[in-house]
Amino acid sequence: MMFRLLKKEFALCLHPTSMIFAFFGLFVFVPNYPYEVAFFFSGLSVFFVCLTARENGDASFTCTLPVRKRDAAIARVLFCAVFQCALILVMGLAIAVKELCLPAEMQTNLAGSCANLALLGHGFVLLAGFNLIFFPWYFRNPVKVGVPFLTAAIVQFALIGVLCALRFTAPVYSDLLVSPDPANLGVKAGFFFGGLAVYLGGTLLACVLSAKHFEKTDL
């Protein structure tokens, strides 16, 4: 059933920005740029998907199909997670290409984290934070998309600000994580897998809470 719902999401709810913003992982080729901003755009594409769904009367339509209401909410979270993972994948590939093809002096980023494995870990945490704030709130009332998005985006930007500030204020952090790969690869891998665990746990929790809230929502 979940596969059918995901198929329906792709057929009826896909917003072009979801695909476009997934390619913002290529930001890592921009010199001296806070690469974490790419993860904000991922949240923006979720906002557009949910806004379009509202304008299309998607929630009511989906719930009249032979599906459980809770599954409809979980499918939406998973649908958006597909594009979040696509962003991470694009960014991961771009980082690999950058590290292999560009000279060492172009690997340094004066505006924030370098394009490395730890950046992907940061990305997972930022996306998990967005999912945890946005989706359970949104599914309390799918008509109101703006306030949950604004709140999640503000928290995301605050976290991005903290990560950028750590680049300049915490030497340990800066030395270990902001250096280009393969320096400190073990620690960076730890951040990557830690971030992945946070993302999986956070998104799973977002699914559970969204389903619970959506069950109680009057459409």
């Binding site: 059933m1 059918r4 198929k7 329906k8 057929a11 009826l12 299309n56 009367g57 998607d58 009511s60 339509f61 719930c63 009249t64 199909l65 032979p66 599906v67 459980r68 209401k69 069950e215 109680k216 009057d218 459409l219």
Partner: protein, 281 residues
């Protein structure tokens, strides 16, 4: 067989209460759900479809209406078909089809042909009447045995309404489906409904076959109110006062005639208001 059994359906909003509504729709019959604006028609239908949380129960062919097995045999269209205006008819059918094991693509194509629906057209390009037909085509292509339609004729011109009524009648005859449709256009009811469920201010006022309701009352008109003592829903009219009286009741000094269904509904509603909102009559 009972297609739909609604029992004691309740929903509380801050300014409105759907108060224990119960009724049945039998297979192969068309049931009109009527009432004034805000009477609770859409709330009832949404409650049946599980779009809102309600107390009480609704069973579709004996299965709780929120179960997937129950929804699989229902075709629902709420407030015209306004979902996904930029999607093409064919794309919509393709997205819906995997949810129904009984989906029949050939049948959908046949209904599109019969209703004049172009699968390449966007739903926003369809007229109100054609959107209703799209809902019917989608519903019937997955073998729906119960159609629940929320005000399918509102916004339609008289010719389209007539066409809708013809379509529903022929579908009931050919497919044996049961239909529950809400409306406040009483002429549609007279045209196709077998049974009537009248809601007023969130309460069930009447549930009975349309014919027996029509044969139950006479409209009584008198120049003074006292002559209509005991009549139902007395209200002022040009000739004085008018109310409903049971057909077998003897009355003197009043003019009696056959009431229209509209008049019956209006007088029953007046009676409810005059008596301070009592329940079913």
């Amino acid at each position: 067989m009972t297609a739909l059994n609604v029992s004691n359906l309740m929903k509380r909003y801050p300014a409105f209460v759907l108060d224990g509504v119960s009724f049945r729709v039998e297979e192969g019959r068309i049931c009109g759900l009527v009432g004034a604006n805000g009477a609770g028609k859409s709330t009832t239908l949404k409650g049946i479809m599980g779009l809102i949380r309600t107390e009480g129960s609704a069973e579709i062919f004996g299965i709780p209406s929120y179960e997937r097995e129950a929804k699989a045999v229902v075709g629902y269209a709420g407030g015209g078909f306004r979902a996904y205006p930029q999607k093409r008819v064919g794309a919509l059918a393709n997205a819906v089809a995997p949810f129904y094991s009984a989906w029949n693509g050939e049948k959908f194509a046949r209904y599109c042909d019969r209703f004049g629906l172009d699968p390449q057209k966007k739903t926003s390009e369809l007229s109100e009447g054609m959107r209703v037909k799209l809902s019917l085509a989608l519903a019937l292509s997955h073998g729906a045995r119960l159609l629940i339609l929320d005000e399918p004729t509102s916004g339609l011109d008289p010719l389209s309404r007539e066409e809708f009524c013809d379509t529903v009648l022929s579908l009931v005859r050919e497919e044996g489906v049961a239909v529950l449709f809400s409306t406040h256009i009483v002429s549609d009811l007279t045209r196709i409904a077998d049974d009537i469920v009248l809601l007023s201010n969130g309460r069930l006022l009447v549930e009975e076959p349309l014919r027996s309701l029509a044969e139950k009352y006479l409209a009584a008109t008198a120049p003074d109110r006292a002559a209509l003592s005991g009549a139902i829903g007395v209200k002022t009219v040009k000739e004085g006062y008018e109310g409903l009286v049971p057909r077998d009741r003897q009355m003197k000094g009043v003019a009696l005639r056959e009431p229209t269904l509209d008049e019956i509904i209006v007088h029953l509603e007046y009676e409810r208001r005059n008596s301070g909102g009592a329940g079913a009559l």
